[in-house]
Symmetry: C5
Amino acid sequence: MTTASSPSPEPTTAPAAEQEPLVEAPLTGISDRAATQQAREQQVGQRPGTLTIREGSLPPRLFLISYSAHFFAEQEYHSYEELWAYYQAHPDLKHWLDVRGYNNLALMQRLMQDFGIHPLHMEDVLGDYQRAKVDVFDDNRLFLVSRMTDFTAQLEIDDDQLSLVTGSNFVVSFQDDYDDCLDSVRNRLRSGFTMIRHKSPIYLAYALTDVVLDHYYPTMAAIGDYIEILEDRIFNGRPNRRLLSRILQMKKDIVRFRRLVYPEREKIAEILRLPENVVPEETKVFFKDCYDHAIQAMDLAESYRESISSLMDLYLSDQSNRMNEVMKVLTIISSIFIPLSFVVGLYGMNFQRENPDGTINHLNMPELYEPWGYPALLGLLALIVAGQLIYFYRKGWLTNR
Amino acid sequence: MTTASSPSPEPTTAPAAEQEPLVEAPLTGISDRAATQQAREQQVGQRPGTLTIREGSLPPRLFLISYSAHFFAEQEYHSYEELWAYYQAHPDLKHWLDVRGYNNLALMQRLMQDFGIHPLHMEDVLGDYQRAKVDVFDDNRLFLVSRMTDFTAQLEIDDDQLSLVTGSNFVVSFQDDYDDCLDSVRNRLRSGFTMIRHKSPIYLAYALTDVVLDHYYPTMAAIGDYIEILEDRIFNGRPNRRLLSRILQMKKDIVRFRRLVYPEREKIAEILRLPENVVPEETKVFFKDCYDHAIQAMDLAESYRESISSLMDLYLSDQSNRMNEVMKVLTIISSIFIPLSFVVGLYGMNFQRENPDGTINHLNMPELYEPWGYPALLGLLALIVAGQLIYFYRKGWLTNR
Amino acid sequence: MTTASSPSPEPTTAPAAEQEPLVEAPLTGISDRAATQQAREQQVGQRPGTLTIREGSLPPRLFLISYSAHFFAEQEYHSYEELWAYYQAHPDLKHWLDVRGYNNLALMQRLMQDFGIHPLHMEDVLGDYQRAKVDVFDDNRLFLVSRMTDFTAQLEIDDDQLSLVTGSNFVVSFQDDYDDCLDSVRNRLRSGFTMIRHKSPIYLAYALTDVVLDHYYPTMAAIGDYIEILEDRIFNGRPNRRLLSRILQMKKDIVRFRRLVYPEREKIAEILRLPENVVPEETKVFFKDCYDHAIQAMDLAESYRESISSLMDLYLSDQSNRMNEVMKVLTIISSIFIPLSFVVGLYGMNFQRENPDGTINHLNMPELYEPWGYPALLGLLALIVAGQLIYFYRKGWLTNR
Amino acid sequence: MTTASSPSPEPTTAPAAEQEPLVEAPLTGISDRAATQQAREQQVGQRPGTLTIREGSLPPRLFLISYSAHFFAEQEYHSYEELWAYYQAHPDLKHWLDVRGYNNLALMQRLMQDFGIHPLHMEDVLGDYQRAKVDVFDDNRLFLVSRMTDFTAQLEIDDDQLSLVTGSNFVVSFQDDYDDCLDSVRNRLRSGFTMIRHKSPIYLAYALTDVVLDHYYPTMAAIGDYIEILEDRIFNGRPNRRLLSRILQMKKDIVRFRRLVYPEREKIAEILRLPENVVPEETKVFFKDCYDHAIQAMDLAESYRESISSLMDLYLSDQSNRMNEVMKVLTIISSIFIPLSFVVGLYGMNFQRENPDGTINHLNMPELYEPWGYPALLGLLALIVAGQLIYFYRKGWLTNR
Amino acid sequence: MTTASSPSPEPTTAPAAEQEPLVEAPLTGISDRAATQQAREQQVGQRPGTLTIREGSLPPRLFLISYSAHFFAEQEYHSYEELWAYYQAHPDLKHWLDVRGYNNLALMQRLMQDFGIHPLHMEDVLGDYQRAKVDVFDDNRLFLVSRMTDFTAQLEIDDDQLSLVTGSNFVVSFQDDYDDCLDSVRNRLRSGFTMIRHKSPIYLAYALTDVVLDHYYPTMAAIGDYIEILEDRIFNGRPNRRLLSRILQMKKDIVRFRRLVYPEREKIAEILRLPENVVPEETKVFFKDCYDHAIQAMDLAESYRESISSLMDLYLSDQSNRMNEVMKVLTIISSIFIPLSFVVGLYGMNFQRENPDGTINHLNMPELYEPWGYPALLGLLALIVAGQLIYFYRKGWLTNR
């Protein structure tokens, strides 16, 4: 899990800049090693709700954004007590507590208690491998998991988990990364002119979910760009195993992407079915928009899958074509020279013109003794070659590949 | 997004005229570059409902058709104020406001307010990449998206978005193109003898949706024509990579077409499920007819997909056949001449007939000293050749390909 | 759309008689040209319910069968007025109006009005390309479309549309063909001993639907027969492109058949869900029987599809096998004779036995001067050949193919 | 339809004994000829409920088992009248009328009337090709169809139809075979200690359905055994067309089996949904057990399908491997001897050492006159061979296959 | 069914240690022999609920854990009577009766009666081949089947059945193995600090189900590890049949795993739909967590399936590549030396320079008599070789593979 893409305003340019090393980049494998990693890290036989900090987790940083229609405050707290005091002192504000990094078990347990998070949900947060999902708890609170994607310079899809817990006047977000793709939401909060400041925390949860979903598009665009590069390589270069590995790796990425997007769609469909008291109708309009985006992302992934499959077909046909070409060279050269060799071998035989009695045997290779023998033979050979060349030309073996 | 097909009355002839340059036309790629383009243009992290004009959008032109059972007026307005005034002054008429081109943000915002369009819908209009869908808003108004297809001279499916917003006495249509395929509806309005003048705006929305769907058939017919040309090429020509690329490109087009038609069917199915107060039963009869057409278009696409897959099989088998043919030529020529070369090489050996003591060694290659040696050898060679030819003939290698 | 099979009592024999020209019959293409034809004929942008007569439609012939439990009359009318008068005069009878051929627009419009047919349904009738479907209109009347199949001598599936409109005391059937497969129903009506004379028109509609469905079986049997012929050809003959084309053509036919049968099943399932007042329970028992038949036809089509796929696998493996065989011949002959050629070439070298000083150089090719040189060499060559033959025999290259 | 497996107590041993002739058994085809047969025998255009005896149907034999908790009688009746009289005389007993063979139309019609069987059901009985299904009639009576499978010595799945009609105090079973797999139920009835004697006829119907389903397992086990034999053949033998045909035939069998089992599962699921008055809850518990078995049989079939697909992959890869091997032999031998032939050919040239003026031309092939020429050449040849052998060894062409 | 993995605390390390012998381990087959074994052992035609002990079943051992919030006792009983007495004497405690091994029919029947187990369920327990399922009986008791997986050193998935029967104050678990993966639950019970001691037996059933599901992850991780090893082998080694067999075997394992997990998911979904009185809402929260895990396991299996399919593609392409390479070597060597052989053969011809009359024939092979003939020829040969090498180099045949 590397550091995710910086929240740059033009996210599509980053992958574009990484296009060059495409075929030269080290191969990271065509099997889904992230899946195996996930299986390996799964805790076995634990009490449900047991909190465990994954190895390599970052020390937590706490950011609190407090806002109302007319107020905005944003601060990183180094002491949780201070943060909690501030939160307690402002029940009238809405709060977004942004937790980045999990490596403090005591803090995590404290957060769980203070914000009323279910232990099973907290386990999902820390496990970091939960598919996108939504759970309703305490009648009208939501636990939402999204997966943020990023297309790395190693041509792999890197995904990080964003977990959201909503409450009556707060949203707690969890991610095990200091950089994220949520800055556009922060900026909208800061700017103060947007709906987001007037609406309930569930709208903030929507906005965060939406921005994660929006980031699927640059990932897909990057994959699409690489597919086009692969297509160019196939058209211009020779088929080789590295190219095939790249194609298969890209296929893995697309399959992985689909596995990320599909539950996202399911999640939003489930949100749309939630009762009015959990997600109000006016917010559902926005989630419906999300839903359209998720379906469109699935469409894109399907489309890429078809492209990869076509590239595979083209690659394999090319491989077969090259064999054909090799065989044609062999056939043309052999077909021309093997008969010629026979003919010249014929006249290399040592049949004797003189019989033992000294008389001349006119049956034994008289051609060798004709004055025009050699030129005639050369002419014959030229005729043979010409005939074969015409035959091969007519078959199209000399011109088209 | 090129200029769409002119609203000619015989749309199927245009693709027919483009058949000739089929294989010579520049390849436009077998991966779905339009999908990548779409992903790349997706706005990331914006406030929902933010209006952005896509690059390359056309300056808007406004056409207003106002009609009732006994009245018809049609005019292009260069000033929106005039148009609005006319619309305001005639609440008793039904109006079709036809907006072509989006490149005026202020105007778009004005339209949004005046005609009560939801910002998320307006965003979908301007984004120009929305799948076919229907949304109900304000209890009984519809927001409809259709995608108009066109099969270009580059053998690509070009699709444009048609967005419709209905109101109690109007329909607003949006498209980012000056030419479209809606003239048949305009003519029906002009003619005055049709139901369309007597019915509510929702019927006009139906008529526009229907005409877009009808235009899928010429697109499909053009694809079908090209598939037949490809089939002929495979049967008559030699397999080559360009032909394979064409096949794969056509496959991409069909997949793309399916991706366009499928949501269209879903959309109409959803319309058929809408309550009576949104879409009256008498109009649903017509949408049911649309639904049959959409299913038929899906059937066609499936059928073409099967055809393409069969062409692929045929192509690959041909490629293998050609290798077979090359190998047979090599095998026949080698099998005939390599043994002959051995025989003549045999009699080119220099085993000495004379022993060192001058006596004659009758064991060493006596054939060379026979008067009938050479003719006998030629006969032997002819026999070998004949035997092999018979063998190869029986195997069918000389006749069938 | 050729003339359909005559209503012969043994429909399975016709295809059987056509088996011989199987591989010699002209290839009619492996892509679905009928589908493209359909797309091409689709009317674009017309007012819904516009009636258009398709090119090549036949002049209509009108047959009226009037019956009750104790009465039967059957007549072809050349004047519609007479027919209408007769129908009007006998409201107590049940009538089957059998319209064959559509090429009279005025008559079609008259029928539409007199028998209360919805314009959209009439459009479906004349369009002749509607999938099987059922529509309920006027509360309890049915519009039914079936597709009659026929397997032609060109090894293609030909399908014709049968449209039925039911009323309180009549059924109107439409088909654009003078011959059809409905004679068995007519005979049952004529015979007078069957339920059909006692039951309501909806039962007649069932009987007509059922007989169409029953005719799917001879079509399937004919396809099955051809698949067996193809299988025999593959087992006994050599793979060639014509055979592959036949396989792919048969695959197209099966896919086409499935596309015809699947909506038939959907149609009947929908009939079974209709309320009691539209289709009475006692008639549904019979439609349930139809449903079983439709599912069985789908099963058959699936089974044939698997068979074709297995034949493809076998064909492709054979193609590969033949290449293998060619390569083995080449390898065996080359492997045997190329070494031999080397050996005899060796003894064709001109190394001099005599040194310049006239002494004998016993190192230079002394074999050539041995009295047993030549026989020994021949023995060596025979040994080499024997060794290789044993090697190839052990590898099984000489025996199994 | 051959005579089914005898009701031996160890049904799995029969297929095991037939394993040996596997590859030698005559090929019965890789397309589904039984399906075509079925299509061919379908009656076309008949009045529904018309009873027709299939060709080859057996003369009927009638067996009646009458039982109650404390009574048991079993007899074959040669006169139906006697049977009917006995049945009439014992309304207090439960009866199982076991009809084997249909070839007596009058008897069949009599049975239909006496036991109140619906004509459409009777048609299904005699047609002998009905998929597994359940119909409820007369409010609470069941018509059940099961298909009994058997794996024949010809490696084909043979299936026979068992039709059951339940009544208040009887079950009538129909099958067109004298031997069947129902003896275990008969024995349970005879033994008298089981529930079956105490329960209603519907429980008997369950018991018969269950025993048919149980017999799917030996069929599957036999197929599984053959798949293992095929796997061994592929691993140990050479790929040949007969083996491929076997694989494809086995695939057909599995597909056929799935087509038999799938409706069985549907049937039982439908039984489980029937109301209490038709199938009482206490019997449903047993049908639920059947349902688990049907699902498990489907699982097995899926598993075998995967196995066959893997065997195909292995076979095709082997075929390719063998080509590779052939090519390697050719390449090694050609690569070694063709250069050698060139070298010895070189020293077979006749360039003259003596100039016309009698002087010696030291440029023309001086090697031929060196005393060490020949041994040096032999050394060179040996070096070339050694070099190539090392090259090929390093490439692994000499060792691994 | 071998002895399952010991209940070691670090289950993922065991497979890791077995990685080395991967390719050397004996092949256990690519077809699913366990499925055939299952089909073969199926009892045919038995009375439902007949209890049969499978061959190889272990002698039963009985463990009883009795607990409440404040009490814990654990003991192995060698006499069932003692156990039963203890159980009877403590109705206030909750009991987990852990039965390992079934080989005592009388005991099994006793257990069935004492704990009110349904005979059909007991049959499922002893059959040991039941898919995961849940049945509700006696209104609110559950019969649960889970399948415990283990990845063996033979690279096979071994699965054992765990059957659970719940009652008001007990859970009976059945397994035919002395070692299991349930120790973590036992430890949680022993430790006394967990919820499990306070909750109802249904929670214990959940905990046991959950721990089985958790053990799917190490199995999957082991499969994933092997896939990575296979990937490395393909990249570094040569394609050979053993590698292909491994790939196909791994595919079989994954398919088998999916067949195990899928019903597990269905089972838990069914539990979540059970009414409150059977599974209380507070326990369902935990089962929902299970459900997420089951879906994730399915995802993993899908991902591995894709990986295996990519490895197959890579393998087959490699196989084709190697053929290509072989052909290139043959073509290069043949193309270079066959023409050379012709040239030197040409100058090995015996055309006579001297005419019969003693004059010199300057037409017959004058090159042989030129002083520079031989060096010029050598130069020509070198030129030919150089030309060809350049040609092949340009084609890339000399460098890239």
